[in-house]
């Protein structure tokens, strides 16, 4: 186990390094620059800014400088703010996105699994159809439409909840639902197909033949096996949810970190682009690791070893 963890750690650092390097050179290769505006600024001002942010140095020097700063966990300044650094962006934004993401994840897991299991147990009957219609709607309706509809009716017309901003728990309800819609549908569909497959297995028939109760069969034998594919995707789903959604955070005026990913690129804010890439990769690598470990608990047949599996 320890050997396995050690090996994964080395791999993780290597992956991060590749991500940093590729992102670094790619983002400098795309046209545009952080200080571009409609109407060019005087050369003197432009050069001052380049010097101030060390953008006048050769690319490989900037690259080494960045790596050195990163060793100290310093993600650098944002080129668009003289107040907030990239570290602040993450420090202020991540807890908010995490809070929102975990709430959405709880909703998605709860309803996704229930819908999936109900659908599978009632294969080709009306509960199945209803669940899958809900799932298809969930996948095909973009979150910003759902968010806009929720705001219009729940907040403005019926006055049940506030429209936007991030203050009390009431403010978190609509964004959590909007954010959870898509993963709920995804998990439901995945759980349904996986559950159907497991229910057709011989050992389920054996269990039935042995006279086990339906609930024991479903919970102990069916769900435990059927949940593995869902666990596999949970790493990516969770990483996406907890690092914030640009669209949802923008619509609800939530001070999360979702905007980093989009605005960084739009503004050519190099440290923000790199910071968000590194942070996201880090979270993703960590979660995938957790998922791999959790396999061995759910399915004892899976053994974690340092060597080839």
């Amino acid at each position: 186990m320890l050997k396995y963890i050690g090996k994964r750690l080395v791999l993780a650092i290597l992956t991060l390094w590749v991500v940093i390097t590729v992102t670094f050179f790619l983002m400098h290769a795309i046209p545009g620059n952080p200080f571009a505006k409609e109407g060019t600024m005087p050369q003197g001002v432009y050069e001052n800014l380049q010097r101030y942010y060390n953008l006048d140095k050769p690319l490989h020097v900037q690259y080494v400088m960045y790596l050195k700063a990163l060793m100290r966990l310093d993600f650098g300044p944002s080129l668009k703010s003289s107040v907030i650094t990239v570290n602040d962006y993450i420090k202020n934004g991540f807890p908010v996105s995490l809070h929102l993401g975990l709430q959405a994840l709880a909703i998605a897991l709860t309803f996704g699994l229930i819908l999936g299991v109900i659908a599978a147990l009632n294969h080709n009957k009306w509960p199945d159809y209803v669940s899958m219609i809900v799932a298809i709607v969930g996948i095909s309706v973009p979150s910003f439409i759902l968010a806009t509809v929720l705001i219009n009716f729940v907040a403005v017309e019926w006055k049940l909840l506030p429209v936007a901003t991030w203050k009390t728990w009431k403010h978190t309800v609509l964004p959590s639902i909007s954010l959870a819609m898509m993963p709920t549908a995804y998990i439901a569909r995945l759980m349904r197909s996986s559950m159907l497959e497991v229910l057709g297995q011989d050992y389920i028939k054996t269990a039935k033949a042995k006279g086990l109760s339906q609930s024991v069969i479903v919970i102990k034998h069916a769900i435990r096996n059927a949940i593995l594919p869902v666990v596999t995707v949970m790493g990516i789903v969770t990483a996406n949810l907890v690092t914030g959604s640009f669209v949802i955070e923008r619509i609800f005026g939530i001070p999360g970190m979702g905007e980093m990913f989009v605005k960084g690129i739009f503004n050519r804010d190099y440290p923000v682009i790199l910071g968000s890439a590194v942070f996201y990769s880090g979270i993703l690598i960590f979660l995938i690791f957790i998922v791999d470990i959790s396999y061995s608990f759910i399915d004892p047949r899976i053994k974690l070893t340092g060597g080839g599996k």
Binding site: P31, G32, F35, A36, K37, E38, G39, M41, P42, Q43, G44, V45, E47, N48, L49, R51, Y52, Y53, K80, S81, S82, V83, I84, D88, N92, G93, A106, T110, I114, V117, I118, L121, T148, I151, N152, A155, V156, K159, P162, V163, A164, T165, W166, K167, T168, W169, K170, S213, Q214, S215, V218, I219, R250, I251, F252, G253, P255, E259, F266, R268
Partner: protein, 556 residues
């Protein structure tokens, strides 16, 4: 059996969710009640709720660089002059000034008894230090060029000097000097007829020099923020909200009626509009386009079309055939039905543009663009003749297909489609549309890698020069490849001209050349449509700023 399973599953889920919300509630309940009590006690004070849209990049007057930064600064700071609600330049921190005969030396006398919000008296040095800080190349201020009007300002700012002593020499040469505590002498690089107007702009605001020297990062936090205007900055929750409260030490405090202004940071226009409808905001700006169209059609009493100092136009690449031909350019421009675009496509109360300089800039007498008049007409028949003539001159028998380049946006796309159709219908031209990301568009304009490109310009200051000097052949903003010696001469002459009447004539002449040569086709003048609750009184919208609430009141 199945039912039992369902019931137990549901039960488990309910337990789980109760547990979770329970935890969530505990953590948030406190803040919830704290806020409620805060709201109850604050029921009497007059609190205005605005939306700043996004997080300011800086609230230091020397580093601020846009409306998201400046809106708050304008309410907490004041410069030597300020703009009255009628748009006139009036006394601010300066109560009197004299101008030398050649128009390059200004001497200001500062207002007596003005105090900074930390109790320090305001002195002339506060201006000197502020402007020198702004111009210092090490500050790397994006708006430093706003102070290039000062003598030796550009020389200091553009210097690459690394030797501190030599840099200090350049700094000392900059044309701003505190003669004594209450007298400020300003020397300009060249006479600038709109200099007093510029002084009301936030880049020229003072900073408390003692605070600036002790803690250069004073503007990064509300607790260390020191200001001299009608309000004081008290709270900054990053990417969430900002709060300013009335400054009881402000010299004109009797006229300030609001107790507090709260700025939200809602980027989504639709959300802000819904918050306005839900009485969570007192003003919504900018509005979603469909809402603007709807409110405008209904003549909604809360709907205001604010003035704006900005023009939407198309650039022609005059280095590419056949756009090098003036008749071709004129033909294309004259086939654009600007009235239809404004009324049926853009739908934001914009004004059709037949000049580059928008309305709202004072001339020697009257309005500059009113005096210019419309310099060309929508005339497809005449345009067809011009196009035929132009193509013949270029030895072409048919207008080749070409591309309109614009930065990705639903609004720009609709306008491009409308123009595409107008050119197809009236001139029989096939046009393709190409949308690229904003940065790519800027890059391609810079390299003259386009045929026709969508563009826009917001005036830096309220004078036709901010529009017209873009198309000097040496200007970096030209981006059309257009060169006209006569035009250059007029702009150069106007820049050095002290006589307002003949300067105005030179600018009018330049505008006429621009509109007969047509390296650009102006389309419309922007407006700033917004909604404001009827109980908010006495706000005003300067042409180049957001709506100002220094003297506003709430009467419910």
């Amino acid at each position: 059996m199945k039912k039992r399973l369902l019931a137990s599953l549901l039960g488990a889920v309910m337990l789980l969710s109760v547990g979770m919300t329970g935890c969530g509630q505990k953590a948030t309940e406190n803040t919830g009640t704290a806020q409620q009590t805060a709201e109850q006690t604050a029921a009497t004070p007059k609190i205005l709720r605005l939306n700043n849209q996004s997080e300011p990049g800086s609230l230091h007057p020397g580093k601020a660089q846009g409306t998201h930064d400046s809106w708050l600064i304008e309410h907490v700071m004041e410069g030597l002059t300020k703009k009255s609600p009628e748009g006139k330049v009036v006394e601010g921190m300066a109560t009197a000034w004299t101008v030398s005969e050649d128009g390059t030396v200004y001497t200001f006398t500062l207002r007596d008894g003005v105090k900074w919000s930390n109790g320090d008296p305001m002195v002339a040095k506060d201006f000197e230090i502020a402007w020198k800080y702004l111009l210092n190349p090490k500050t790397a201020s994006e708006y430093a060029y706003q102070c290039y009007y000062l003598a030796n300002g550009e020389a200091f700012n553009a210097s690459t000097e690394t030797d501190d002593a030599k840099l200090k020499e350049l700094e000392d040469a900059v044309g701003v000097k505190a003669l004594d505590e209450k007298t400020l002498e300003v020397r300009l690089e060249a006479p600038t007829p709109y200099f007093l107007e510029l002084l009301s702009f936030y880049t020229y605001y003072p900073v408390n020099h003692k605070v600036q020297e002790a803690n250069p990062d004073w503007a990064n936090d509300a607790s260390t923020y020191v200001s001299n205007g009608p309000f004081i900055f008290t709270e900054w929750k990053h990417k969430e909200s900002m709060k300013i409260v009335k400054n009881e030490e402000y010299y004109d405090k009797d006229k300030v009626k609001l107790n507090e202004i709260h700025f939200a940071m809602i980027e989504d226009e639709n959300t802000a509009w819904q918050m306005y409808r839900n009485d969570e905001l007192d003003m919504a700006y900018p509005l979603p386009q469909d809402v603007t169209a709807q409110l405008s059609a209904q003549k909604d009493p809360e709907f205001v079309i604010g003035a704006e100092l900005a023009t939407y136009f198309y650039r022609f690449n005059t280095t590419k055939k056949p756009f090098n031909n003036v008749n071709v350019r004129r033909a294309l421009s004259m086939t654009i039905d600007r009235k239809t675009i404004v009324e049926s496509v853009a739908q934001g109360g914009q004004t059709p543009a037949y000049t580059l300089t928008p309305y709202g800039i004072a001339d020697v007498s009257g309005d500059f663009t009113q005096n210019t008049g419309e310099l060309f007409k929508y005339d497809p028949t005449e345009a067809q003749k011009l196009l035929a003539q132009g193509l013949q001159e270029e030895g072409m028998d048919k207008m080749p297909n070409f591309v309109i380049l614009y930065n990705t946006s639903e609004g720009h796309k609709k306008i491009a489609e409308a123009i595409q159709e107008m050119w197809r219908k009236d001139l029989g031209i096939q046009v393709t549309l190409e949308n690229v990301e904003f940065q790519i568009k800027l890059d391609r304009e810079d390299k003259l890698d386009f045929e026709v490109a969508r563009s826009g310009w917001v005036g830096d200051y309220v004078d036709p020069m901010t529009f017209l000097d873009m198309f000097e052949s040496t200007s970096q903003q030209n981006d059309t490849g257009w060169v006209n010696a006569e035009y250059d001469a007029l702009i150069r002459a106007a820049k050095a001209n002290l006589d307002l009447a003949s300067r105005s004539q030179q600018l009018h002449d330049a505008e006429k050349i621009l509109m007969s040569e047509m390296p650009i086709a102006p389309i419309y003048f922007y407006t700033a449509p917004y909604t404001l609750k009827p109980y908010v009184k006495d706000s005003y919208k300067p042409i180049n700023r957001y709506t100002q609430f220094q003297y506003a009141d709430i009467v419910k």
